[in-house]
Symmetry: D3
Subunit: 329 residues, 6 copies
C-alpha cells in the first residue's frame, strides 16, 4: 500500500508526490535565503525548508503545485518536519492534479445533491421552498465545493454541504422525536444558515476571508440575499414566514457575542443553533482525537475553548459480567 505524507516514521527516507500548500521565501540568520514550505496530501500536512533557493525555484514552487519530493522525516521543536533531498514539479505523466491531495467530504457530490433534493421536497411551505431553491441555485457550485470554515471544523472541500447535511439528519431525528416542530422552517433554516460562507470565504483552496466576509459576516450576507430573493419572487417584505426564515439565519450563532444580532426567539431557531453547535463539536473532537493515540490527550481545540480531549485506551464492548442479562425492571 502507498504510504502517505504523515505515515512516515521518524528518520524514514521516502519518495512521494505532494501538494504545496504554502511557500514563503525567508532569510536565515546566516543570511541565506530559503523557502519555508508546507506540504500536504489527504493524510495531513508537514513543513520543510528548501535551501539555496534560486529565483526560478521561488517562481515555480508556489501554493497549488504538485511536486515530486524525496526527503527524510525529521523533527524540529517537537513538531514533524521534512528534510528535503530533492524536489521538482510533477510531470503530466505523474500524479499532478491538486484535487487529489486535498481532503474531501466523506460523501460524493452526487450523494450530497441527492440528499439536499430530497429535503427540499419536505419543505412544504411555499415561501421557504422558493427562497431556498433560488439561493441554492445561485450558489450551487460553491455550496458543494467550499469548506464550512477556514479552519476549525469541516475545513475540507465539500465541507459546507456536508456540514449542512449532518445538521439536516439530526434535525430529522428531532422532528421525529418531538411533536409540534415546524419542520419546513427548520429544514429551510438549516439549508441556508451557512450559505453566506460562499461569499464570506474565498474558495475551497487557500481559503481566506473576503472583504465582504470581513466587513459583514456570513449571517448578514445571506440575510440580505434572502430579502433580495423574496423581493424578486414577489414575497412581501413583512410576510411572517419571511421574517421567521431571516430570524433562523440571523440567530443561528445563538449568542450576540458569537455574532448573531438577535438571540433565538423561535423554537426552531434554538434547535438549529444547538444542532449546529453539536455537529461542529463532534467533528472538531473527532479530528483532534484522530491525531493521537489511545491514552493521550488531543491538542487544545480552539473552537472548544481550548479544551484538550482524552482518547481512552480501549473500548471494550464485550458483555461478560456473568450477570444474567435479564430485565432490570
Amino acid at each position: 500500500m502507498v504510504k502517505h505524507l504523515t505515515d512516515f516514521s521518524m528518520d524514514e527516507e521516502f519518495e512521494t508526490y505532494v501538494l504545496i500548500k504554502s511557500a514563503d521565501k525567508r532569510v536565515a540568520k546566516n543570511g541565506k535565503s530559503f523557502l519555508s514550505i508546507v506540504f500536504q496530501d489527504r493524510s495531513g500536512q508537514i513543513p520543510g525548508m528548501f535551501w539555496d533557493v534560486s529565483e526560478q525555484d521561488a517562481q515555480q514552487f508556489i501554493p497549488g503545485r504538485v511536486v515530486y519530493l524525496k526527503g527524510k522525516r525529521e523533527s524540529y521543536k517537537e513538531m514533524p518536519q521534512i528534510k528535503i533531498y530533492e524536489m521538482r514539479l510533477a510531470r503530466t505523466d505523474e500524479p499532478h492534479d491538486p484535487l487529489m491531495f486535498v481532503k474531501r467530504a466523506p460523501m460524493t457530490s452526487q450523494e450530497m445533491k441527492d440528499y439536499i433534493n430530497q429535503t427540499i421536497f419536505e419543505i412544504t411551505n411555499a415561501t421557504y421552498n422558493r427562497i431556498v431553491r433560488a439561493l441554492l441555485n445561485r450558489h450551487a457550485k460553491s455550496f458543494f465545493s467550499y469548506p464550512a470554515a477556514k479552519s476549525n471544523h469541516h475545513d475540507f472541500a465539500g465541507g459546507l454541504a456536508f456540514h449542512t447535511i449532518s445538521i439536516l439528519r439530526l434535525a430529522h431525528s428531532v422532528v421525529q422525536q418531538y411533536s409540534g416542530i415546524n419542520a419546513p422552517l427548520l429544514y429551510a433554516g438549516a439549508l441556508l444558515h451557512d450559505l453566506g460562507k460562499t461569499v464570506e470565504l474565498s474558495g475551497p483552496v487557500g481559503t481566506e476571508y473576503t472583504l465582504a466576509g470581513n466587513l459583514l459576516g456570513h449571517l448578514s450576507i445571506i440575510d440580505a440575499e434572502i430579502v433580495e430573493a423574496a423581493d424578486k419572487l414577489g414575497i412581501d417584505g413583512q410576510n411572517e414566514d419571511l421574517l421567521l426564515l431571516r430570524h433562523m439565519v440571523l440567530s443561528h450563532h445563538g449568542l450576540l457575542e458569537y455574532g448573531s444580532p438577535e438571540r433565538p426567539k423561535l423554537l426552531e431557531a434554538e434547535i438549529l443553533h444547538e444542532l449546529d453547535e453539536m455537529d461542529a463539536s463532534i467533528m472538531m473532537i473527532q479530528n483532534a482525537l484522530a491525531k493521537v493515540k489511545p491514552g493521550e490527550y488531543s491538542d487544545r481545540i480552539f473552537g472548544l475553548d481550548n479544551r484538550r480531549f482524552y482518547k481512552p485506551h480501549s473500548v471494550d464492548q464485550s458483555h461478560d459480567d456473568g450477570q444474567d442479562p435479564s430485565r432490570l425492571f
Copy 2:
C-alpha cells in the same frame, strides 16, 4: 366535557375539584386573617384568597388536600385569580386522590421501564452495565416518580425518567449518524447523569432541595454513589472505565459556572452535555409557548437566559407555489 381549572374564562362562575398546592396564612392591612392558596389540577395553577379563616380552616386546607371549590375566575394585577364562594374538603365518594391532579410524564411508568430495560442491554461494557444496574435498582422508585427539576423543565411526576429517555433517544440518533462513538459509555452516562436528583430533591410533590442537595449538588451525590457501588462490585478505583463514567456524570453541566467541577474532556461527555441542554431547551420552550396564542410572545424563560419566544401565527404546510416539484440538483 369537563372543564379544568385554567379553562374558565374571565368572570365565569364554576364548581370543581382541585388540589391545594400551597396555603399560607397571612394578615391583610386591615388586620383580617386569610389563607393565600394556590389551586392546581393537570391544566395548571391559579391562586385565590380564602377570607375569614378559622383555626379549623387553617388546619384542614393544607397542601396535598383535594377540595370541592365553588368560585369565580377573576383577575388581580393582570394575573388570573379565583374569588372563592365556597370551599370544603372532597369526600371519599368524590375525586380525592391528589395524584389525579398532578401533571405526569407523557409515557406510562411501564413504557418508561421497558425503554430503560432495552437500553441497558445495549450497554455491553460490563463495568458500566453493573454500575448502572446497581444504582438504578437502588433508586428505582424515585427515578420513575420524581420530576427532573424543582421548576424549569420536566417539573412533573415522572419527569426525571422521561427526561432521561428523551436524551437516550437523541443519543441513539447520534450514535447512528456518527461513527466511532462509545455507545455504552454514552448510554450509561445518560442513565446516571441526573440520578443524583433522587437525593437532591425531596420528592415528586412540593418538591424542595434537601440538605444534601443544597450542600453537595446532584453531580457529587451520584459520583460518590458510583464509587461506592464500584467498590462493592469489586471494580478497582483506578479502572479507566470507572473514571470515564464518573467523568460523564461530573462534566455533564458543561461549564464550571454551571456546577460541573470539570469541563467535558471526552467526546461522549461533550455529546451528553449538549443533548441534555437540547432536551431541556425544547421542553422549556414548548411549555412556555403552550401558554400563549399565535402571534404572542411567551413569558421570559429563566432557564434560557430570560429570553421570550415567539409563537408564529400559522404553520402553513401546503405546497402551492406552482413550481414543478422537480429535483433542484
Copy 3:
C-alpha cells in the same frame, strides 16, 4: 401662565386637559373595579385611579383620548399620583388634539429637513448619495415623526431625525478637527444608522416593537434594504463602497454584545459608534437631571448601567479670584 400636569404641588387641587397614555381595568382586593390610568402632557406623566368604573367609562377612557380632568395631586408609595374628582372626554371646542400633549423634538420638522438636505449635498460619493436618497425617500414620513427609541433616549415624536442630526453635527466637528476622514461615508452612515427603526418600531405613539423589530433588529432591517436599493440602482453587490456603507450600519452598536454582528473595522465606523453613544448619553443624562433639584441625584439610568447622576448646587461662572487674568504660558 397655564400650569402643566407636573407643575402642581402636593395636595394642590386643579382642573386641566390631559392625554390618556394608558388605561388598564383592574380589580382591587375589595373586589371593586377601577381604571389604572396614566395621564400625560408635554411636562410629563402622572398615574391616577378611576374608581366605580362603568362599562361605558372603560370604553371611552382609552389611550390616545384627551380628557378634562379635575382632581388633586397626591402621593402613593413616594411617587406622585392624582386623586380624580371628575373626568370626561374633551369636547371639540376644548383642547382635544393628542399631538398637543406629546413631547416633540426641539427643532421643527422643516428645520430638520433643511439640515438633512444640506448634509446630503456633502455626500459627494455617488454610491452613498444615491442609496441614502432612495432609503430616506422611502421612509421619509416615519423618519421625521418616529422617536429614536421606545424609551431611553430621544423617546419623543421626531426624536429619530433629531438624534440623527445631533450625530451629524458632532460628525462635522470631527471631520474638521481630524484630517483624513472619509466624510461622505461618515455622513451617509450616520443618516442610515438608525433608519431601520422606522420598521423596528410601531410608530410615534404607544411605541412598541414590531415583529420584524423583535426577530431581526433595526441593523439587519436597514442592511437588507441597502442591498435591495443598491440592486435596483444597478450597484454591484461586491462594490467596495457598498460594503463599507453596510459595515457602517451593521457595526454601529460597537460591540457584538450590543447586537452588532461585526465590530467596527473602519475608522469612520468607530467614530459613528462613539458619536452615537455620546449623543445618547448626553440626552439620557440631561433628561434624568431635569427631573431633580440641585444637590440631588437622578434616578438610575437604565441605558447607562443604572448609574445615578449628581446635579451640582450652583454653577458659579464668575471670575473673581483676584488673580490677574494674564497668560499662564
Copy 4:
C-alpha cells in the same frame, strides 16, 4: 529628497543617520556575541543585528546615541530588518541631536501653549481656574514634552499636551451643541485629566513607568495634587467645586475595570470620558492605517481590543451620479 529609515525598499543599500532606540547584548546559538539594536528616526523603527561586538562597541552603541549607519534593508520572519555593513557614532559636524529623530506633536510647543492659555480664560470659575493654573505651572515643562502614553496613542514627544488640546477642541464643539453644560468644569477636567502622567511616566525618551506610576496610577497622583494645591490656595476640602473637579479626574477612565475608582456621576465627567476615548481611538486607528496600503488590514491594535482596521482602496469623492442635486425634502 532625503530618504528615511522606513523608505528604503527590500534589498536596498543605504547610508544614513539614525537614533539607537534600544541595544541589547546577546549570545547566538553558535556562541558569538552580538548587539540586538532597534534603530529609529521620525519615519519609524527597524531592528538590526551588529555582530562581532567588542567591549568598546557595547559601551558606545547605547540607547539615545545617534549613529552613522551603512547597510541593507532585508527581512527576517516577515518583518523588516537591517543588515549592518558599517556603524559609528555621528560626529558633532553631522546630525547628532537625538531630538531630530524622535516623532513630535503636529503643533509646535508655542501653538499648544497659546491654545491652553486661551482655554484657561474660559474657565471662569475661580476654584477651577486657580487649581488648574497652580498645577499646570508646576508640571509645565513635562506637560509640553511628555508623550500621552508609553505606547498606544500619542506616544510621541509633546503628545500629552496635544492629546489634551484635541479633547479641548472636541469639548468646545460639544459645549456649543448642547445647552446646559458646565463648560468651566469640563475644560478644567480636560486640562488636568492626564496631568498625573508627568509623574507616572519617566519622560519623553525611553518612557517607562515610575514607581509612583506603578503603585498609584496617574489618576490618584493628580487627585492628591489637586487636594494639596487647594489646601495651599485656602480652598476648603469639602467645597463642592473641588469635589466635582476631583471627580472629573478620578472618573475619566469610565469604568472601574479601567482603573477609575468611581464611574462618572456628572454629565461633564461622562462627556470627558467619552471624548478621551474618542480622541485616543482616532489617533490609534490613524497611526495603524498609516502603515498599510489601501486594501489591506492594519496590525491588531492592542488598545482597541486587538481589532484590525481596514484601509479602503480609494476614497472617491466626486459627485457624478447624473442625478440632479436638488433638495431631497
Copy 5:
C-alpha cells in the same frame, strides 16, 4: 429579664421603650394618612404602621426619638410587624437616650483605644508612624464612633474601629506565622485603610453617603489626606515609604471592579486585602446566621454574592468513637 423588641413571639402583646429609626408619612389606597415607622433597639428592628396620624404626630415621631410603645407583634407578608395600640414620646424620667437603643461594638471605646495605641508602638518606621498618628488624631472622634459601612458588615456604632482592630489581630497572627513581612507597613495600612469612611459616611446614626463619599470614595479621600499630611510633616512626595503606604490604601479592595485604582502589588497589600475580606465575611455570615434557627438557611447576603448560609443542627463536640485517642502518626 426585660424582653427586647425582637424577643416577643407572634401575637404577643407588650409595652416597651424603643427608638424610631425611620418614619415616613404615606397615604393608603383608601385615602387615609399613616406613618410607616421602623422601630429599633439593640435586639434589632421591626416596622409598624401608625394610623390616623395628626400633624403633631408627624412632627414629633421622627427618627432619633425614643418612644413608649404599647402594641402587638404580628406578621405582614411573612415579615414581623407591630400593631400599634398606643405610642408617645418617652419622658425624661423614662429611658430616652437614643444611644441606649443602638448596637455597639463588643469592645468599649477605651479598650479599642488601648489596642490601637499599642499597635502604633509597633509601627517602628518613622514615616508610617507619623502619618498614622497625624490622621488618626484628625479623625479620632469619628473613627471610634462610626460604623464600618452603611449596611453590610460592622454597621454599628464603633464598627469602624472594631473592624480595624479585627484586621490588626489577624495581621499579628500572619506576621508571626510567615517570616519576611514588613509588619509596620502592614499595620499602618490596616489602620488607615478605611479611615476615609469618616468622610465618606455621614455619621454613626442614619448613616448616608456624603457628596465626597459618592463622588470620590473612601480610598481616594484618605489617599489625598495622606499626601497632605506627609507634605505638612515634610516628607517628600516621592519617598518610597510614602508611595508604599498610599498603595496599601488604594489597593485594599483587591480588584479594580471593586473600586481599587490599582491591584495589590506588594505582599503586604495583598495580605491586607485578604484579611479585610475575611473579617467582613465572617462578620456578615455570623450576623445572618444569628437570625435563623439551626437547620435553616440565612437570608441572602448581598455582600457575599447573595449566597445563603446554612446553620447546622447541633455542634456535637463529644469524642466518643471508642477509638483510642492515640497518635495517628
Copy 6:
C-alpha cells in the same frame, strides 16, 4: 562555602553536581542532534544544551539522574543558560542521591506529623475524627511527600502537608479570635481539603496530572473517598456531619469557575476557602520576590492573575522620628 547552581555569575566557569530535571532530544536547524536539558538543585533550575549526543548519552542522561557538570554560566534570550564543557553520571562515591537536589518543606517530616497528630486530638467530633484518621492513614505516605501543586505554590516535596499545616495554624488564630466557629469541622475540612491531590498528581518528582486527576479533579476524588470511608465506618450517608464535611471539601475553591461544584454555604467553609487562598498567595508572592532584587518587580505570577509584585528597597524599621512615643489616645 559551596556555590549552588543559581549562584554562578555571568560568564563564570564552574564544576558541580546537579540533578537532571528534564532532557529532550532535538534536532537543530543545521541537522545536528542535541539534548535540551534542565539542570536543578535546591537553589533553582537552569537549562543547557548538550551537543553531539550519542545514543548512549541519550540513554543515560535522563530525568532523575545526578551528574557531574563542568561548564560556564551564559545567557540566551535574556535567560540564564549553561554552556556544557563536560558531563558524566555521578559516581556512588560522589553526591548522587536525587533527593539531595530537590527543594523540601521548611519543616521535617516528623515535625509535620507531630503537628497533624496534635490537631487531630482537637477534632472532638467523632464523625470527623474517624473519617480524617481513616483517610490520612490511607494516604499518609503521599501526604507527607507530595507537593501541593504541579507548579504555582508549595511545589516542593512535602509541600502538601506543609500547606495543610499553614492553613491549620491560621485556622487556630481565627478560632481564637472569633467565637462560635465549629473548630472540629474547620480543622477536619482543612486536613482533607487537598488530600485528593495524592491521587490527582503523579508524585513528588516530575509531577504530572494522573488520568483521575484530569477527569475528576482532587475535589471529587476525595469527596468520593469520604463517602466510601464513612460507609465502611458505618456512618449513615445522610448524617448531617458527613454532609457538612463533604461540603467543606467540595466548596473550598470558593467559586464554581474555580472548580467547586458548590460555593461555600457554611461559615467554616467560607473561612477554609479564604485561608487556603491566603496561604497560597503569600507563598507564591514570597517565592517570586525571592528571585528579584530590591527595587525590582517580580515575574508575572500566573496564579495571581499575572500580577507582578514590587520588592521595596529597604525595610527601615528604626523609630527615629524625634516624636515622643507617648500614647496617641
